[in-house]
């Protein structure tokens, strides 16, 4: 079953094309319809809750049956609606770390990890188990039960249990959400080290954008059951065109806007933020002006001034007052009400020199090109 590490990554490619609908009693139905292929390495599956991420993993693992489509690892077909082929989950060689981990409560850590190795001889099984316990740093816990170890240790056990069977694909459903950043990073480092040797596609579901920046070789953004964007993180994040990609790219400010006027000769258009009289200048786009647009602005791209600025190239100078100031680590987060509420990030030094306190009058300065025009897929 096992291929050597020198096998070209194309041979381990996971290709997925599927459609699955859930009719709901309310009349609205949810449809997951995706098509993508991923190679060896970390691919992050990003999306809001309800975007269909877990359902997609369930389909790949065989816990759910798609209405139509095709799933294959390299040349091995796992599911094909045309030839009515569906390999049961226990014969797919897909490692799947469920969100709830699902460790067997009545078995020790060692018994949990050995569970998937029933086909091996005793000596081989113990060797494989010992090896993986070592590489995930849980050898000392071998005789404990899941109820007696910490959350981070449970995650490691669940990972070890999934990987010891040498799956051809690994699916991780928000496995590390409950952990602090340091523990998370250590586990991912161990997983990376493991995958350097085994070179399989790892599909990692999250709605935490920090994890995307930290771990991803590739990103697939899922929005309302469809792939909204796909590619290396910098490609996906630098050209955000949909709201969930924008949230992924870190737009703390997202406003619904209507196009008020467009100035093709200046390359801009004027938009009015819904629910306010506020107008902002944004880059001209070819998006459908009849539909509502969203404008995304990063909190760190906004300049704050305590006196009226003059002689600027920036088109947007907005007057308002600070409604709250809060410091998190080394970032000061100011909420400014200019008719609509903006979130602005600045340094503690800037806060001191500008005397920023709630109620203070300020001007916000935003370059036209810091306003990113987005349109929802659906």
């Amino acid at each position: 079953m096992e291929m050597s590490a020198s096998t070209p990554t194309l041979d381990r490619q996971l290709s997925v094309r599927l459609r699955k609908s859930f009719p709901s009693s309310g009349g609205a139905s949810f449809t997951l319809e995706v098509s993508f292929a991923v190679s060896a390495g970390f691919t992050i599956l990003f999306g809001a809750s309800g975007a269909g991420k877990t359902l997609l993993l369930d389909c790949i693992a065989g816990l759910q049956t798609p209405d139509e489509g095709e799933i294959a690892i390299a040349k091995t077909v796992l599911f094909d609606s045309q030839s009515r082929r569906s390999v049961p989950p226990n014969r797919r060689s897909v490692g799947y770390l469920l969100q709830s981990l699902a460790l067997f409560p009545h078995m020790t850590v060692a018994q949990n990890v050995e569970y998937g190795l029933a086909a091996l001889k005793n000596s081989q099984r113990e060797a494989r188990c010992g090896e993986v316990l070592e590489s995930f740093r849980i050898a000392a816990l071998a005789q404990r039960r899941p109820g007696e170890i910490s959350g981070g240790e449970q995650q490691r056990v669940a990972l070890a249990r999934a990987l010891v069977t040498r799956p051809h694909v690994l699916l991780l459903d928000e496995p590390l959400t409950a952990l602090d950043a340091a523990t998370k990073a250590r586990i991912v480092d161990d997983l990376r080290a493991w995958n350097k040797r085994h070179q399989i596609p790892i599909l990692y579901v999250t709605h935490d954008r920090e994890e995307v920046f930290a771990f991803a070789d590739n990103v697939i953004v899922l929005e309302a059951g469809q792939v909204a964007a796909q590619g290396p993180p910098h490609n996906v994040l630098n050209r955000p065109q949909s709201e969930s990609v924008a949230q992924l790219a870190g737009f703390e400010n997202i406003f619904e806007c209507a196009v008020h006027d467009s100035h093709p000769e200046q390359g801009t258009m004027t938009c009015r933020i819904s629910g306010s009289a506020l107008q902002i200048e944004v880059p001209l786009t070819r998006l459908d002006a009849a539909r509502p647009l969203h404008v995304g602005i990063r909190a760190g791209d906004i300049l704050l001034a305590s006196v009226a600025p003059q002689g600027l190239s920036a088109r947007n100078v907005l007057y308002g007052s600070i409604s709250s100031v809060e410091q998190r680590d080394i970032t000061v987060i100011a909420k400014v009400n200019c008719g609509a509420e903006f979130e602005v990030h600045l340094t503690p030094g800037a806060r001191q020199s500008l005397h920023l306190e709630p109620g203070a009058k300020v001007w916000l300065v935003v370059k036209t090109y810091s306003c990113h025009v987005l349109q929802n897929g659906g």
Binding site: L63, P88, N90, L98, P105
Partner: protein, 225 residues
């Protein structure tokens, strides 16, 4: 007399609860995990003996094993005698009568096993068979034990069905409960009192053991490997 009836009753209870263990496990598993739409029909059928008077059940079983039914004729051609008024006949009736007491606790404890654990087992390559033995059965063991003990105790105390199917033949079909009835009919209250007390003590001891074991957490008591 008492000893004879007691050995017969215990023999019946052992045989019936053993059969119910074998029949009950797959049936309870099916009831807990099947997605068949007509599952409720089987559930209702299994629970029937709880509400039905023993005479009704006994009557139908008597008819079914009698020489007039195809099953009764088939059994007679096979063994040379009828099932009615024999120990084997009692076993058939008692299995049906105690079925819900075995199956329901098992099904309840199987269905309380987290489905994610079954998924996890399959994802690790385990067949449904292996999943049952390694995950469902160990985690549902308290319910299985309850079902086993309840069906044993229920068979000990059974009266109506036994009387309908087995009659009152000492050494063949006369159980302790029928013996008490016999003794009361004969106005021998002293003997009836002794027999009744014996049955009372036996049932109470069994249930005490059962609930005493259940009080502790499942995986400290059984310590399976």
């Amino acid at each position: 007399m008492i000893i004879q009836a007691l050995t017969l009753t215990l023999r019946l209870a052992v045989v019936v609860s053993a059969i119910l263990l074998a029949v009950g496990l797959p049936l309870a598993y099916w009831l807990a995990f099947s997605r068949q739409r007509w599952k409720f029909f089987i559930e209702a059928f299994v629970s029937l003996p709880i509400v039905l008077p023993p005479t009704v059940l006994g009557f139908y079983v008597l008819v079914a094993i009698g020489p007039l039914s195809p099953f009764g004729r088939w059994y007679q051609s096979l063994t040379g005698h009828s099932l009615a008024f024999t120990f084997e006949g009692l076993v058939v009736g008692s299995v049906l009568y105690s079925l819900p007491f075995a199956v329901q606790p098992m099904a309840v404890s199987f269905s309380s096993v987290d489905r994610k654990l079954l998924d996890a087992s399959a994802l690790l390559g385990a067949s449904p068979w292996r999943t049952f033995w390694r995950v469902v059965l160990p985690l549902g063991l308290p319910g299985v034990l309850t079902g086993f003990v309840l069906s044993f105790a229920h068979t000990l105390g059974e009266f109506g069905v036994v009387l309908m199917i087995g009659g009152n033949i000492p050494g063949a079909t006369q159980t302790v409960s029928v013996l008490i009835y016999d003794q009361v009919q004969a106005l021998d209250y002293a003997a009836a009192n002794r027999t009744a007390l014996l049955l009372l003590a036996l049932c109470f001891a069994l249930l005490t053991i059962l609930y005493g074991l259940r009080r502790r957490s499942a995986w400290n008591v059984w310590g399976w490997k």
